[in-house]
Symmetry: C2
Subunit: 296 residues, 2 copies
């Protein structure tokens, strides 16, 4: 793992010819019964395993959402770690959506728990919350720089409530832009040969104008774009912050969770075989939509 | 558990006659060797167990820091849960310092993982990060209101980097004040018979001026004050946001971690018995300093 995280990510996206990132959001009440007893750890584990077997065909990056595993307690954490390792073994990069944010030795603890070797998650990248300031991101950057990993900072999220704080005006610009400016000087630390930086920005697809403005502030930061698909943004909106590269638009990954995990065809499937076909088709479709948006 | 969290907290503080909250921050390299092999899960578990046996004598509230358990993987999470349950069994309220912040079903997941019954942590209160807006706090409030629990929102933290975002001016007031205003309308939902609300505010002791200003915005919110002791704030500073009650100043709890977990006397102890005496004395001293500050 000698290549920089940013280079590995952009290379993976180029290989798949799509910026699709599969969001692993296991919702207990939507996991088909043939994966196990409803709301059981076994069903969680089997579902994640099945997703991880299909996802690498369509996406370079898997984004497990920690908040869906933690309600299962320590066993849920174990399943999440297994899913991460299984995805990496199949060549995917894993970006853990944990949104951690703390300071000093606590932030170091979270950095080791997520980016660090087992018993840490050993993922390739992790989402972090900037509210506590630069010193809350520093320990993650230190480990990421040393181990060729990435850090994805929440800048402008895709939820309605994002307006409550992130859009407040600070000296003529929204707060989220101040956040971007805050860590812009650090992007070079995680920059790879591709010119892209693994100090990623989370920029919601539901606000394409903002994504374009954010790209001005952070020209090299790879974007993690949530909100595509179930949250209502179009593929075109989702890549609004991308720039023209070798083979079309590039500059990050676009996460899709529900559209690829719970398409109606998969929810209607009576057998595992039918379910696999449905998931494969849903992922292929999302990947293609994003591919087309990048080619346009 | 029919009483409101706020009432249970303020009653506990009155019984101890001190707002001390013991911060459970297990630092692997400071855990004495007689608790087990350095940096082992066993040492972590034995250390936490020993702290939990002494803390209830001096403090009504225990605040485990999730970031110190998660680097140990699923077993670390299990140890944290055991420590929480053990403290509750001894009559303490447990406030999990997890600083979670997400939206929708993910936030619901974190709320169940922390405040919910096993396999959730089943703690009495949890810290949350407001950067994603009101909808990131809502699922926690819903569970807290239903189950008589608390939610502690990060408002103004005690670290140097708190200035980076939290102090940015928004229409003539710092951002942290806008955060306080954002959830002020919700405080009534968790208000108890005491008049205090379990929708707590995290307000760093290193900034007593801010704590007083915050009290104006949130007259009924119980404060969780970090930064006392090792982080340099005085007991008087720590209670700056408290108000005069029946028996002196009240209005929250003040967290002390390193001063009560790793006093030089305990670090020098050669036996468990000596260590216990040192920890007991350190907690007694912190409790007394805060008692005096509240009586003054």
């Amino acid at each position: 793992m000698s290549a920089r995280f940013a280079d590995r990510l952009i290379e993976g996206v180029r290989q798949k010819n799509s910026p699709l990132c599969v969001g692993l959001d296991p919702l207990p009440d939507r996991i088909p019964v043939f994966f196990g007893e409803p709301a059981s750890v076994a069903a969680l584990q089997n579902f994640c395993q099945a997703i991880v077997e299909i996802a690498p065909k369509h996406a370079a990056v898997l984004k497990p959402q920690a908040g869906f595993f933690e309600p299962f307690g320590p066993e849920g954490v174990r399943v999440a770690m297994q899913a991460c390792a299984a995805a990496q073994a199949r060549g995917m990069l894993v970006l853990l959506d944990a949104k951690r944010g703390d300071i000093g030795t606590t932030a170091e603890g979270y950095a080791r728990a997520t980016l660090g070797a087992p018993p840490g998650f050993n993922v390739d990248c992790v989402t972090v919350n900037p509210y506590l300031g630069k010193d809350s991101i520093a320990p993650f950057l230190t480990i990421a720089e040393r181990d060729n990993k990435g850090v994805a900072v929440l800048v402008r999220t895709s939820n309605p409530g994002a307006r409550d704080l992130q859009d407040l005006q600070v000296d003529g610009a929204p707060l989220w832009r101040r956040v971007a400016e805050m860590f812009a000087p650090e992007t070079d630390r995680l920059k790879g040969n591709s010119g892209w930086s693994g100090l990623m920005s989370v920029a919601g697809a539901t606000y394409p104008e903002e994504a374009r403005a954010l790209r001005e502030t952070l020209p090299t930061s790879l974007f993690l774009v949530p909100g595509y698909g179930a949250q209502g943004a179009s593929a075109r909106d989702a890549v609004a912050g991308f720039v023209r590269g070798k083979n079309g638009l590039e500059g990050g990954v676009v996460s899709s969770s529900r559209a690829v995990l719970y398409p109606p065809t998969a929810q209607a499937a009576k057998t595992l075989a039918d379910w696999r076909i449905a998931i494969d088709a849903a992922m292929a479709q999302s990947a293609a939509e994003l591919r087309d948006a990048c080619a346009a």
